[in-house]
Symmetry: C2
Subunit: 240 residues, 2 copies
């Protein structure tokens, strides 16, 4: 992989949180590589296009790690053998399909190995305050333990950095706007069609974020049906 | 992946430690799956043959997870951009090539995801007391933090179990002999030739283990040159 070109490795899904984190980190430091994961899923391919484009815009090296086993060994398993998932509002049915057990552990571990390989000192993840408790690998307790494991398990004691840990998605949208992020070149929708569906869990969350931030949403949605009410237990996966 | 067939998922490299761990765990419990990783490396292919064979002998489901990115993105990186590795005795030059930054974090994370998918409650790794401190992802501190991350990051609070944590490789050999393990059907050699070379770091360690255990070594070695003296800092990676 060659020499280090910066001190951070950042997880970049191509979603609005991680794209904003990339621009945010570049304001104060350098980035050795932006790292994306290719599960082979349809919406993941859409994300990857935007991840690649944003890395190019930022002049940052983009590394895509193929994870063929995730679809082969995990996804169907979750659907047939997983623990019951608490009921939520209807979008969660869509989101559930994309859940991979211990996904954040897997992605952070691989990213830690890449960071160590590149001589980077930090690993950046766009986990934020809106990441809720239903998914165990999104909880702060898990992220703290994983952070410790990454620090202790690497030669250079790599630090896991979570710049957005105390702000929510609307605040991330505002921060992105400040930084001049072109959100029309980010992807959230789990359906993975030609444009955002506007109805799935992540689209609803995206629309809400712009609305709450008081920003114009530049996204082209298939549907602009009224947003559903936010359920008490609404939760989502960390948008990497 | 279907229903759970046992309570443990075990990391099975095909080496003597993990093979003994498989037989050991089966004495007191059931195993949902034995998990191996295919890096595409030559010696890894030899290990995988024996991992598959041992799983078959034990009538345990064997899952091989392909990790093509490890060779693509990690190995050359380590050689050209890694942190300096402390000097040791000459076999370490061979072993160094197989080192993957944060490897145990990556393997344990993927295994945690598989365990959760299969409804298993435990993850078993054959880490032992002879695993020394040069490799950070072999240290007990790392394994404790990782254990916490796995517990907190999974729905079913999967426990990381290390049945051999307080015994060394010679004691593992003795335990294997008690259990009737056919060690001629395990693989250690990093060279990955048709038979064990007898000279590389892992072969030396294997030969020492049988010698110290007072057991006949059933392995066919290319060379039976006298074992080199054990250096003060000798260390090795966890034999998964």
């Amino acid at each position: 992989m060659g020499e280090a070109h910066g001190k951070s490795v950042i997880l970049l899904s191509g979603g609005m949180d991680s794209v904003t984190a990339l621009h945010h980190v570049l304001r104060t430091g350098s980035v050795a590589a932006a790292l994306s994961f290719d599960y082979g899923a349809k919406h993941n391919r859409r994300e990857l296009e935007f991840a690649a484009l944003q890395a190019q815009i930022c002049n940052v090296r983009h590394i895509v790690i193929p994870l063929p086993f995730l679809l082969d060994h995990f996804q169907s398993a979750l659907l047939t053998g997983g623990e019951p998932i608490p009921e939520g509002h209807y979008e969660e049915a869509t989101m559930r399909k994309t859940v991979v057990p211990f996904r954040n552990g897997i992605l952070l571990s691989i990213a830690a190995g890449v960071a160590e390989s590149l001589g980077a000192k930090e690993l950046v993840i766009a986990a934020h305050a809106g990441d809720h408790a239903i998914y165990p690998d999104c909880r702060p307790g898990f992220l703290n333990a994983m952070s410790e494991a990454v620090r202790l398990g690497t030669y250079s004691q790599i630090e896991l950095r979570r710049p957005f840990v105390s702000i929510d998605k609307a605040a991330i949208a505002r921060r992105g706007a400040e930084l001049g992020v072109d959100f029309s070149k980010t992807w959230s929708c789990y359906v993975g069609g030609p444009i955002h569906c506007g109805r799935c869990g992540t689209c609803v969350e995206r629309r809400e974020a712009f609305l709450l931030a008081g920003l114009t949403d530049p996204t082209d949605y298939e549907s602009l049906d009224p947003l559903p009410p936010k359920p008490v237990n609404q939760s989502h996966h960390v948008d990497l």
